[in-house]
């Protein structure tokens, strides 16, 4: 198992697997996070998965109490992370059904996008709603999922001038990525559709509709 461990800040460290976007590596990331949650060290504050890395945030003083022989809290965390039995970690099992996101393909940039890609609206809808996307990580905004698996035909650069107010529920594309704005926010993605579904809800236990490892499908309405 190849990995590198680096300090992020003086109270956080990141374990990097091979830096590429793949379901296989992201599975390792999620299995590692699951292991850390079951086997936490004293002083661990938070463990966060990304595409191909895992970051732990910790309390320096509490970590140092674990082992007075280590020179730094980071040294302890580094040792802890490198001792994770990576080869024995079980592949995460995804029990969740595919999460369907109903989308009205009527985004404000739709005409522009169709023109740029030389597609009919029907073709774009088909291309965008056909794949089962994978949630690789969360970030940017509460409930914002980085989805992988978009058809390369839909690749377009982001806007040169980001919008100040992208509407909540806007579905956008940029590069090889597609995503949904969970709250109103500035943003530079090309907006192709709109969903009414709530992506982040403080009143639900899981808060975020989408979570790393989930499978997602867009359904045209």
């Amino acid at each position: 198992m190849e990995f590198e461990i680096h300090v992020l800040s003086d109270c956080s460290a990141t374990l990097y697997f091979e830096q590429k976007i793949s379901a296989e590596i992201n599975d390792k990331v999620l299995a590692t996070v699951a292991w850390i949650k079951v086997n936490p060290f004293q002083g661990l504050l938070e463990v966060v998965p990304a595409y191909a890395s895992v970051t732990v945030y910790y309390d320096i003083l509490l970590v140092k109490q674990n082992d007075f022989s280590v020179p730094t809290a980071f040294a302890f965390v580094e040792k802890y992370l490198s001792q994770i039995p990576f080869n024995k970690l079980e592949k995460p099992i995804y029990l969740n059904d595919i999460i369907e996101i109903p989308v009205s393909y009527n985004g404000e940039d739709l005409e522009f996008v169709l023109e740029q890609l030389n597609l009919e609206r029907k073709e774009l809808i088909e291309l965008h709603s056909a794949p089962v996307y994978r949630v690789y990580m969360m970030g940017f905004l509460p409930g914002f999922a980085y989805l992988g698996g978009m058809n390369k035909v839909l690749a377009l650069p982001r806007k040169t001038k980001p919008l100040l107010n992208v509407r909540e529920g806007s579905v956008g594309i940029a590069g090889l990525q597609t995503g949904i704005y969970p709250v109103e926010s500035p943003g530079g993605w090309q907006l192709i559709g709109q969903t009414e579904i709530q992506l982040f809800d403080l009143n639900t236990p899981k808060l975020s509709l989408l979570n790393p490892g989930d499978r997602v499908k867009f359904v045209s309405v």
Partner: protein, 319 residues
């Protein structure tokens, strides 16, 4: 208390919202956590009690209830009923008293802390205002009101004890304000991806804080930094103080309202102890970076925490 003038970007902040970055929830929290903690300790509160964070132009507040409060952070020349009061000192207010601020002298952010804290609902374990997500804490507008947790009777007994306490925060402990600030950093994962000249330049040149400096991040202006190759990195988690290299060769320092992840190379990270200094710097100010080891960064942090604990013990003796 009621806000007669809201000031600009005045908000309620505590130590931040931890534990939800895997849902994309950024931590928020006070920019200058040192000032926040010291004021709370002074008042006998728990360190992470929520406070009002304000900027220039500053707010004007009328107290609606009896209160014990303290002002800290930058020096905004506080006044109670138009009479100057000392910051970093416990003050008393009665209903109708007006708290206002004069010319900003030093620093960028001020804090108002009250004994017992404000009545604000916890959202995901924190009272911090998440402006981007639109939840938590309170964004202060004209006419916004805040109720205090401690009511008259409880405050009366508290104020009796206050007479005895070390009523001020030692000058040595407060964040210093220099026109040119040296900020200590530890090397980031991608520092080695810079070409040699740029690598040297990070620690020899003087950066200027541009007008794009807010609670999310400070964009700096300096000599262009170049990568040896590429520059595309796959998004990973970032932290308060992460210094990222943007495609135009300039750097940005991520601050309290930073996003949870970033896809730009990480050049360095500001050490925890120097984040409050950074939080008090203004647009146009100059900074230089000095690299220190993780070991030194941790020992500087431990030293600071020992000092804070000493202060806490001194206050606790009287309460």
């Amino acid at each position: 208390m009621i806000f007669l003038k809201p000031g600009i970007l005045t908000s309620i902040q505590d130590i931040g919202r931890q534990g939800f970055q895997d849902k994309g929830v950024n931590p928020s929290g006070a920019m200058d956590t040192l000032s926040m903690r010291l004021l709370n300790i002074l008042l006998g509160n728990k360190e992470e009690e929520a406070v009002v964070e304000f900027h220039n132009p500053s707010p004007t507040v009328r107290f609606e209830e009896y209160a014990l409060f303290a002002i800290g952070g930058g020096n905004f020349n506080p006044a109670l009923n138009n009479k100057a009061i000392s910051p970093w000192k416990i003050q008393q207010a009665k209903p109708g008293d007006m708290l206002s601020f004069g010319k900003k002298e030093k620093g960028e952010r001020g804090y108002i802390a009250v004994k017992g804290g404000f009545q604000i609902e916890d959202v995901l374990g924190s009272q911090s205002t998440n402006l981007k997500a639109g939840f938590g804490g309170l964004k202060i507008d004209k006419g916004s009101t805040l109720s205090l947790n401690l009511k008259n009777g409880q405050l009366y007994s508290a104020s009796e004890k206050v007479k005895e306490t070390p009523k001020t925060v030692n000058v040595k402990m407060r964040p210093p304000f220099e026109l040119k600030q040296e900020i200590r950093v530890i090397a980031g994962k991608d520092l080695s991806c810079l070409d040699q000249a740029s690598r040297d330049s990070v620690f020899s040149q003087c950066f200027i804080i541009t007008t794009h400096a807010d609670r999310m991040g400070y964009r700096l202006e300096g000599d262009r930094l170049n990568l040896k190759d590429g520059g595309e990195v796959i998004s990973s988690s970032v932290a308060f103080g992460t210094i990222q290299l943007l495609p135009d060769g300039q750097v940005i320092i991520l601050m309290a309202d930073h996003q949870t992840s970033g896809g730009y190379p990480k050049v360095a990270n500001v050490i925890s102890v120097d984040l409050p200094l950074l939080a008090q710097l203004s647009v146009g100010q100059h900074i230089t970076f000095r690299e220190i080891s993780t070991e030194v960064a941790e020992s500087v942090f431990e030293k600071q925490e020992r000092e804070i604990n000493k202060f806490k013990s001194a206050v606790n003796l009287y309460s």
